[in-house]
Every structure is written in C-alpha cells, then in structure tokens.
C-alpha cells in the first residue's frame, strides 16, 4: 500500500516586501508579492525525502488560501510533489487559526492520509500552532518541531524524529497516522529543476470549496472568527541613533554611551 503524505503549505506575502494591513485589518495581499512560505519548503523537502526512502508513496500538497495561492502549490509540485488540493472560498477571507485548522483538518480527511507534514510556523502569522491543532482535530499523534525526521514501515509504520526544545533535545516516536512539523534545521530545500517545472504543469490540482468540506460559512471568515483584531498601528520608526566611525576611540565612545544609559 502506498504511503499517503499530505504536506500543508501556506501562501504568504513576501517578508522582504512592505507588508501591511488592509482596511478590515486583515493582511493586505494585493500590494505585496506572495510566495510559498519559505519555512514550508522545508516541509516539502522532508516529504520528498520520506517518499524517496519509502517503497511506495504519494505526496499531496494542500493549501487554504486565495486564488494566487495556487502559485504555492505549483512551486511544491515543481519540487516533486505529485498532486495538489486548493481550498478556496470567498467566505474564508479573514479566517483565524482555529478556523483554518478546521478547514485543513476536513480537507486532509477528505484527501486521505497516513502522514501530514507541516512547516514549523508561517512567515506571516508566525503562530506555530496549526500542526498541534491538526493533531488535536484529527485525533492522531503530534510529532512536531523536528530537526530530523524519518518514517519506517510504510502506511502502518512509525515516524521518528528529533525535537530540539528550549531546555532539552528529545527523541520522539509515534505510530502512523500522525502529524509532523519540521524546522529550518531539517535540511536545505531543493530547487525545482527545469524538468520539474515542466512536469508540474501537468500535475492535477483539485479545487475545493467550503461546501465540498461540509463547512458552514459562519464557522470561518472574519465573522466566524474566534479572535478579533481591533487595532493595527504602524510602529513609529525608531528615532535615528548616534553613529560614530571607529578611529581608535570607537570602543571608548560606546562605553561612554553604555555608562550614560547605566548599563555599566
């Protein structure tokens, strides 16, 4: 039997662009280029390596997001994933983490899975909570924040990984099905090859709406959200500091400054 891997990827505004909020206090996605979250490239990479090590495996990339989020799926397909699922619905605009986890969980169940692979956090919301929420909703083990991951024994096998926590390094183990997330320490993601990019154009991408997942519009979106952003203000630019050129006295001048601030 084939090992069914679902990789969750998010389409995010470019972090090096000028990210800001729209009038309804959601992320403005119109003025900034979007892309596959760089941290989800690590998830795609680990899924590809797990597939390469398995006898038989298939990788589905799943995203919940606007029309352009299709770019994120294409990028993952050109890296080597097999097919895509794109959940897009205008009622999803403004969905928060709890709502997103509901949509992802339903889409994962509909797709069928033995292993779900996520990134450690998105580069825009940066919450780092979706993988834990998915494990909770799907009722399967959570094996998260891994800097090393491997799967043995196919669809009924086990997943093992190393989690570098705050105070300790842990070796983890769970039976499939399971949800894992991988960090940017798990290994550089591959670049899509020319052949990969051409092949991706022919790979199937299934489009789903909320109806297809039996989710009501009022369970998601801005209206259905469990959280509400009441105010967003641009942080005032830091007042320009003092900058000196070191001509032998730099350290002394800096020490003066630090002493003036009572740090020494």
């Amino acid at each position: 039997m084939s090992l069914r891997i679902v990789v969750c990827v998010k389409y995010v505004p470019d972090a090096t662009g000028d990210r800001h909020f729209a009038e309804d206090l959601t992320v403005d996605r119109d003025d900034v280029d979007g892309l596959l979250s760089e941290l989800d490239e690590y998830a795609v990479e680990q899924a590809l390596q797990i597939k390469e090590a398995a006898d038989d495996a298939e990788i589905t990339v799943l995203t919940v997001g606007p029309e352009d989020a299709n770019d994120a799926i294409r990028k993952a397909l050109s890296m080597g994933a097999d097919k895509g699922v794109h959940v897009e619905d205008e009622d999803l605009h403004g969905t928060d983490a709890v709502g997103t986890s509901l949509v992802l969980a339903k889409a994962i169940e509909k797709t069928g899975y033995d292993l779900v692979v996520c990134g450690m956090a998105s580069t825009d919301g940066t919450m780092g909570v979706l993988p834990a929420m998915l494990a909770e909703r799907l009722g399967v083990p959570q094996v998260t924040q891994l800097s090393e991951v491997s799967v043995e024994g196919g669809p009924n096998g086990t997943v093992k990984g190393r989690r570098d926590g705050d105070t300790a390094t842990e070796q983890l183990e769970a039976s499939l099905p399971a949800v894992v997330s991988v960090t940017d320490q798990s290994g550089e993601a591959r670049y899509p090859s020319f052949k990969g990019i051409m092949a991706a154009k022919k790979k199937p991408v299934e489009e789903l709406e909320l109806d297809d997942l039996d989710i009501d519009a009022d369970e998601v979106g801005l209206e259905g959200a469990w959280t509400k952003v009441e105010d967003a203000t641009e942080r005032p630019a830091r007042t320009a500091g003092t900058i000196v050129k070191d001509e032998g006295e730099g350290a002394k001048q800096l020490a003066e400054f630090l002493a003036g601030q009572k740090f020494i």
């Binding site: 834990a132 842990e170 469990w226 959280t227 500091g241 003092t242």
Partner: protein, 324 residues
C-alpha cells in the same frame, strides 16, 4: 473576582522567569491560579505565592515526561473545568515557548476557544482581555481580543516586570486522567541542554550577538568575553549558526529565539528582516559593523562603524575597567 489560569514553566520545581511575568499580567485581569505539572510541581508553590498566585494546582505523573504535549493538555483542560465549575474563568495564560503555544493551541480546540499567541502586553477590557502583538517583524503593533470561549493567550518573555505580590498560594492536587489518545507520541530519550553558566537568552537583560562578521567558531570567544563582562547572554545570527560557529539554541530571529532585552548588541550582523523579527522590540540597540550601509544601523540607538575585532575587545576592556 474571576480567576485566571497561569500555566507554570519550571525545571524540576524551579520556576522560570516568564511565568512570574505572566503572574504580573494575570493580576490585571483576575485572581491568578497557577497550574504546575510534572516532577517538582509542588516545589513551585512558594515562589508562585510570592508573586500573586492565590492557588497552585499541582499534578505529577510519569506521563507528563514520557509523552509529548498532549498529557499536559489533559491536565490544563481538567484545571479549566474545575475552575469554571467553581466560579468564573477569565483567561488561560501560557508562556510563548514552542511547547507553551502547542499546549495552548490544543486546549483552545478542546474547549472551543480562540487563541492569541506572542502577546507582548495584556490589559483588562470590557469585553475580555486585550492583547497587544508586535507583528510583521515588529513593524506593526496590533490589539486583539478573543470573541469565543475562554481566552487562551500565550505571552512572550520580557513582556511585563516581575512583581512581588504575596498571596495565599494554597496548594491543591489536580485530579488528572491522561487519556490513552494522549499517549501517542513517546519521548524515547531526553538530553538536557548543558548549562553555559550564562543567563538564558530569552530572559537576559542584556544580549550580545555575533554574526557572519565573527568569521569562525574560533572567534566567538571575542563575543563571549564582552557578554561575560556585561553579565549578558550570547546570541548569534542564522548565518553564524548555519556555518556551525555557534549552537542553534542561541540563534536570534524568526526561526530562533525572540528576545526583548534592555540592551541588544549586534556585532558583525547586517540586520536582515528575519533577524530583526527576533530582536526589534529590544529597548536599546547597539551595533558594531564595518559597513556603514548595513541595515542594522537603521535600528540602532548607538552604532560604531568599525572592525569588530578592534572594537569588541577594546569595549570589553573598557567595561571591565569601569566595573573595577
């Protein structure tokens, strides 16, 4: 008054500083009830009482150490249910560590609540607590609240002062049944990180970080010496970590630690957006960089354009002389 649950982060009974900061914030919203789990849980009570905990719910079971995250969610859920049954629960606060966020996330799903992560401030509000977040690499400040269920909020370290506030801190044993479904992820082994003797990166008042400009693991002692003269923690950019010059646990930035010290000193770091994401809320920022065009200088209160190998050792000597 309503009660506020505070999830206690401790190592074998010694409470970590961010938990004490949570107690300060919790007191703005209601009466703090601490939840302390695992080995040494009961030993945390005295410290928690000194900082405002009216009650300390404790539970110790092997499962908390043997399985990842889920057993702690079972316990926190039991605490939510017990407090809600006896009175009213205003919020659940947890530290914004990787584990704290995951526990909060699963709890939110179980109790049908919204969650806000990485708050940097918290105030009481007419419609429930209002959390301040610093987003998009600290270029925006947002205020949010939770509109469904009991608010679950994780708070970043250094978001509030530690304030002594004596309270009863009555210890009560929390009855927890760890579900079989919470025993899915086995912790096969755990290797505690060796202590460096320096302050913890996220808790330190001063952080000195080195980047690619440090140019080799063999040169990091230059950064460490300055840190030690100031009683500071040592940080590193991802470039320095990826090159293998310094451990990943010391990485500052989007995919490393997020720090907010009184003083942040960056040496040989250019100031990429992902690095800024982890340090931009520091109170005072100082940079030493030989390129006057480096973006880090846009952030600084004081910058020295120069070679770190001249400036940093000379600064260390200055600090030592001045401190006598």
């Amino acid at each position: 008054m309503a009660e506020v649950l505070v999830y206690v982060d401790h190592v074998d009974g010694s409470v970590r500083k961010p938990t004490l900061e949570l107690l300060t914030l919790a007191r703005r919203i209601g009466d703090p009830v601490a939840v302390s789990l695992g080995n040494g849980a009961a030993d945390t009570a005295a410290t928690l009482a000194e900082h405002g905990a009216v009650k300390v719910l404790t539970a110790d079971a092997a499962e908390f150490a043997d399985y990842l995250v889920a057993p702690k969610v079972d316990a926190l859920q039991a605490a939510v249910e017990s407090v809600s049954a006896a009175g009213s629960l205003a919020a659940v606060l947890l530290p914004s560590s990787a584990e704290g966020k995951e526990i909060g996330a699963r709890l939110a799903i179980r109790i049908g609540s919204g969650i806000i992560t990485d708050a940097v401030d918290l105030e009481a509000g007419d419609e429930g607590p209002v959390a301040t977040q610093s987003v998009f690499a600290a270029s925006y400040t947002t205020k949010s609240r939770i509109t469904k269920g009991t608010p679950v909020i994780t708070v970043k370290p250094n978001s509030a002062p530690v304030e002594p506030a004596a309270a009863a801190g009555a210890v009560e044993e929390l009855a927890v049944t760890v579900a079989d479904s919470s025993k899915g992820t086995k912790v096969v082994s755990r290797t505690p990180r060796e202590s460096t003797g320096r302050p913890d990166l996220t808790e330190a008042a001063i952080v000195v970080s080195g980047g690619r400009g440090v140019n080799g693991a063999e040169n990091f002692p230059v950064i460490e010496a300055l840190a030690d003269s100031l009683g500071a923690a040592v940080g590193a950019s991802r470039a320095a970590v990826d090159a293998g010059w310094y451990p990943h646990t010391n990485q500052v930035g989007q995919t490393g630690k997020s720090v907010s010290p009184q003083l942040y000193i960056a040496a040989g770091i250019s100031g990429a957006i992902q690095h800024r994401a982890g340090m931009q809320t520091s109170k005072t920022i100082v940079a030493i960089n030989k390129d006057e065009e480096a973006p880090i200088f846009e952030l600084v209160d004081y910058g020295v354009v120069g070679d770190l190998f001249n400036v940093v050792p000379a600064l260390t000597d200055e600090v030592k002389t001045r401190k006598g």
